[in-house]
Each structure stands twice: as C-alpha cells, then as structure tokens.
C-alpha cells in the first residue's frame, strides 16, 4: 500500500504526526441528559497498541461507538484513519476490524456462516476470496475444528474467538477490541495476547479497551485512562508508570542491618515489614553496588529486586481511588 500516490485520498494515509484515531472535544450527552463522554481529546499514534482503560460506566464503550459511527457525537469531532467519523464510515470501516461490547452472533448459523454473513455485509470484500478468508480467520483464532457447529452451541470463549475472527476477515489497519479476553481461560488469554502482538508487529494499530490493568501492561505501548466520561491521562505506558517509581525490595533475616545499609547507600523511604525491607532505590547508584554493599557488610540476602510500579499504582495515584469503581 505504501506505493499508493499521496494524492489518493486513501483512509489510513495520514500526514506525519496525525494519529490513527484523533478526537477533539468529543462529547456525547444522551437524551436523558446524562453526560457519557465529556470533551475527549484522544490521540492514538499509528502502529501503537493503545490501551483504553477505565472503570465500568466511564464512557469507554460510548467512545468506541462514536469512533465506529454507531452513535452520533453531541459535539466535537472524531477522525479515524485520517477521515471524519461517522461521515466517512463507508470508506474507513473496511480498514477497521472491531469487537464491540462482546461478540454478537446468529445462534442459528454455524460459526463459518456467521463469518460469511459479516463478510458479505462489507461491500468492499471480494466474494471470490470470501471462503478462503473466512477459513483463514477461523484458523487464526483456533476455531477451525468448530467451524461447522451452530454458534448457539459455542461457549463464551468460543464466541469471543469468533468475534475476533470477524474482526480479522480482512487485513486491517486498525483493530478496535473491546475487552477481547473476556470469557477466555488463561490459555486463551495468552493466545489472544500473542495474536495481538503478532498483529501489531505487522503494523496494525490496535486499540484495546480493558479493565484488566496487567493485560494492558503486558501488551500495550500506549494507554489512556478514562473516568466519569473524562480523559484523565494518556501517553506511552512507560511514562504513565514512571509517574510512580518502582521500589527496591530486599528479603532478608537481618532487616535492621539491611535498613541501615540501604540508608547509607542513599535509599529513601525505607520500610521494614518482618523479613521484607523496601525502599525507594537510590538515584545515582547501580543496584548491583547496593547489593554488593549488603553482602560486604555480612547481611544475609534471600531476595533482591525492584518491584516495578504497576499501571494500577499509576491509576490509583492519578485518581486517588481504586480501579473498580463503577462510575
């Protein structure tokens, strides 16, 4: 596609600095007067795996629905692949695979027939390659063996996989995945995560909403946090987590000596909890030297390491509250 002349108004051909998703003061007020999304300025860089975080009711799904042209914003604008939504839906959406609020299937159709139907709904999908593409998508999510089964007999995990397969019917530039690992067992979650990484390495931008912080941490390069319809923060995951620094943790039978030496080495905020001593790591020293100092002083060390600040810590630091708060 890179050969396509720049004069062609192709969706996805953006000038430098333009994100795959860009919203300006995007706002949705429902008829009841409830403000679901309030002045959202989102910028999803091309090629990123973008985690979209927030408690239930924080406006994530409403935002996704506006991005996909399913609901009209009350005010503000949204551009997807460089084009305004929902106006350019027919040009943009063939390049977008989406899983919104869980899978929705025709129970009376087989898994394969479900995909054939969704593919037929796309007027840019070539009917000559439909069956092969459907078979490839089923294979990719590990459903090839159950393709002929009626969808109503599928388990929740299988339905989720079929929904993902529908998003992968064509090569996409953007994947919007709303809670893609919902209902999957740990093995299935791992598979989906590696699938997401694989897609991202092919250059597909992945927009991933989740309430599982560790999931976001594991796969996402960027993240945004929403609460009560507002964007709290967005940026590279490393930067977000850096707001709260990791802590040095030493497990030892000699906690008092450990605390003294750590202080000598320049560590701040030393806390002793039984055989566990934690501290803010010293700014200007190599942790190997800190460890060597402990050993030289005859301190017996069972464990030594840095507990990375989690996104959850960052989230709590940002909002001052727990994550699982229903807005």
């Amino acid at each position: 596609m890179s050969e396509t002349p720049a004069t062609e108004p192709e969706p996805g051909q953006q000038s430098a600095g333009d994100g795959v998703i860009v919203t300006r003061a995007l706002t949705k007020r429902y008829r009841g007067g409830q403000l679901a999304v309030d002045g959202l300025d989102l910028a999803v860089p091309a090629g990123s795996v973008f985690g979209f975080l927030g408690p239930n009711g924080s406006g994530k799904t409403t935002t996704i629905r506006m991005l996909m042209g399913l609901i009209e914003p009350t005010s503000g604008s949204a551009r997807v692949l460089g084009r305004p939504m929902p106006r350019s839906a027919r040009a943009v959406l063939p390049h977008v695979g989406a899983l919104i609020e869980g899978p929705a299937l025709y129970g009376f159709l087989s898994g394969r027939d479900n995909l054939l139907r969704y593919d037929a709904a796309d007027p840019t999908a070539d009917p000559r390659t439909r069956r092969t593409r459907v078979a490839a998508a089923l294979d990719r999510v590990g459903l090839a063996a159950a393709a002929g089964k009626k969808a109503k007999a599928y388990s929740l995990g299988m339905k989720q996989r079929l929904g993902l397969a529908a998003a992968l019917l064509q090569p996409r530039r953007l994947l919007v995945l709303d809670e893609p690992t919902n209902g999957l067992d740990p093995q299935g979650m791992r598979e989906i995560r590696s699938l997401i990484r694989e897609l991202a390495s092919d250059g597909t931008t992945v927009f991933l909403s989740s309430h599982l912080l560790d999931e976001i941490e594991q796969v996402c390069t960027h993240a945004a946090v929403m609460a009560q319809g507002r964007l709290i923060t967005q940026g590279p995951v490393a930067d977000l987590a850096a707001g709260t620094r990791g802590r040095l943790v030493v497990t030892t039978p000699d906690p008092a000596d450990t605390a003294r030496i750590l202080k000598e080495q320049g560590a701040a905020d030393v806390v002793i909890a039984e055989d566990r001593v934690s501290a803010e790591p010293p700014q200007d020293r190599d942790l190997a030297e800190v460890n060597a100092a402990l050993v030289t002083a005859g301190v017996r060390v069972r464990g030594f390491g840095v507990e990375r600040a989690s996104l959850e810590d960052a989230f709590v630091a940002l909002t001052g509250e727990g994550f699982d708060v229903a807005g």
Binding site: G69, A89, I100, L116, R117, A121, A166
Partner: protein
C-alpha cells in the same frame, strides 16, 4: 523494468484488488435471502401457510362427501369461491388466498418485517453489520427487498399448495368467472397467477409498516407484536361503518379486490386503487423507516 514502472504496476495491482465491483454490494442481499429462508422460523411460517389450503380442501371434501349431492349447497358462508371448489379444484387457489389474506399472510409478513431490524438490534448483530460496514441505507433496502421476496414466496406457497390439493381432491377443467362467462383451464391458471401476484402486492404496504416499526425498537418481539397488533386494529376499524370516511386509507381496505380479476372483463378500479394505496404506504413508511434508521444511535 524500471523502478517507476514497477511502482506503477504494483499500484495498479493494489487498486485492482481494492476497487470493489458494484456487484459485490448485492452479496449482502444474497446472504440475507439465504439466511432468512433457511431459518427454521421462516420455514415454520411457510409450513403453516401451506397447511391452510390442505385443511380447507379436506374440509370441503368431507363436507361434500357427506351430502353427496350435486352442487353441495351451503354457499354464501365462508370465504369467497368456496362453494365452487367441488366443481373445479382451481377454485381452491382463490379460496385459500381469500382465506389467508386477511390474517395469516399479513401476520407472517408482520413477523418477518417486524423482526428485520429489531431482531438484529436485539441480538447485537446489527452493530457488527453496520461496522462491517453494511451501510444503513443499503441494509434497510436489503431488509425491505427480503421482506418483499417473502411476501411473494408466502403467497406462492399458498397458491401452489392450494393448486396441488385442488388437483388431487377435485376435478379440474374450464371454469366459470364471477360474471358467468366460461374461460379455459389454461386461462384460469393464468388468472390464478395474476391473483397471486395481486395478493403479494397487497402486502407491500404492510411490509413497509412493519419495517418502520422495526426501526423504532430494539426488541424483535415488540416489533412483531406491534405490527400484528396494528394489522388487527386496522382490520377491526375497517368493519366499523361510522369510520367509512377514512377507511379507503386503511392498507387492508382494498385487499379483497383481487376477486375482480375473476370478472370478465376484469374490473380494474379497486385493483388499481389497492396498488396505489400500497405504493403510498411503501413510500410513506419506507421514508419514515429510512429517516429513523439512518439517524438512529445504535446502542445495542
């Protein structure tokens, strides 16, 4: 081959792959028809419709078997043409259509039309069709075309079932029109087909009404019930003499005009009025459905 040429070739290839054929847009219609007509529910509705002529045919056969007199008597009561069935099985087609048109046929249409959009919304599949992107106008037209195809198919199922039962249980031959003239069996068959088409066309307005109702709600059951409820209400109002000033605007008012196709010469007035009224309903409720569906927030 120069590099520029190579670039041009690959661009051309990319565009060849990417430029969709206009015909591809009908893939959804084909899929919709296939999905609708293999559905167990659709087949059950068609089965019920096919059973009506069988029941009527058997009932008439038993009735006349008991009397064993020529001409049977007992005319007047029951649907039009019923007294003539024993003389000519072809009349079972007209009888069956007259018996199913007031309720069975439109009820079946109400179920299919009412469920068309609302059922997809209820199952959540609507959002995936729209994100595919099916296009709202395209999806609505596809749904309406499928409902119209169902109108035609349902009517033909009644007619063919009636013709089969009529041929099995009763003699066939030349028949007498309402005007008292004789027409050949072949022409009678032609008239039967014409009548079936007129009956199918009578359902066009009802189909548009059902489609509109279907865009108002995201409950398939509610849409079906509302559409069938409207049908019953209109049928009742059409019987109240005090309302005769507005009755010509009820979509069911001229439904039985198809009987005029059995006159010699054919009496077209009411048939044309019926077609005009159906077109009006299709235009009004089709536009309303379009206006509603293309601006609706899809929150299910």
């Amino acid at each position: 081959m120069s590099q520029a040429e190579a670039v041009r070739t690959s661009t051309a290839q990319a565009q060849a792959v990417r430029t969709p054929s206009v015909l591809w847009t009908f893939g959804l219609l084909r899929n919709e028809m296939w999905t609708t007509f293999r559905r167990w529910r659709t087949l059950a509705l068609l089965g019920v419709l096919a059973a009506v002529p069988i029941l009527v045919g058997i009932a008439v056969k038993i009735e006349t078997g008991d009397r064993s007199g020529p001409g049977g008597g007992g005319g007047g009561a029951g649907p039009a043409f019923i007294s003539q069935i024993t003389n000519n099985g072809l009349f079972l087609v007209f009888t069956a259509l007259a018996a199913t048109l007031p309720f069975f046929l439109p009820m079946a249409i109400g179920v299919i039309a009412g469920d068309s959009i609302a059922g997809e919304a209820n199952a959540g599949t609507l959002r995936y069709l729209l994100v595919a992107p099916a296009g709202r106008t395209r999806l609505l037209l596809t749904k309406y075309a499928t409902v119209l195809a169902f109108c035609l198919l349902a009517t033909l199922v009644v007619a063919v079932s009636a013709l089969t039962v009529g041929a099995l249980l009763f003699p066939l031959g030349d028949l007498t029109t309402i005007s008292g003239t004789q027409i050949s069996f072949a022409e009678g068959l032609g008239r039967a087909l014409l009548i079936a088409l007129a009956v199918a066309a009578s359902l066009v307005g009802m189909a548009a009404l059902g489609l509109f109702v279907s865009t108002l709600t995201s409950s398939g059951i509610a849409a079906m019930a509302t559409t069938v409820g409207l049908l019953i209400t209109i049928q009742i109002l059409d019987q109240i003499p005090q309302l005769h000033a507005i009755q010509p605007y009820f979509f069911s008012h001229y439904w039985l005009s198809f009987a005029d196709l059995m006159r010699e010469p054919i009496y077209w007035d009411d048939l044309v009025k019926n077609l005009g009224l159906q077109a009006l309903y299709a235009a009004v409720f089709g536009s309303a459905a379009w206006a509603r569906f293309t601006t609706k927030d899809i929150a299910s």
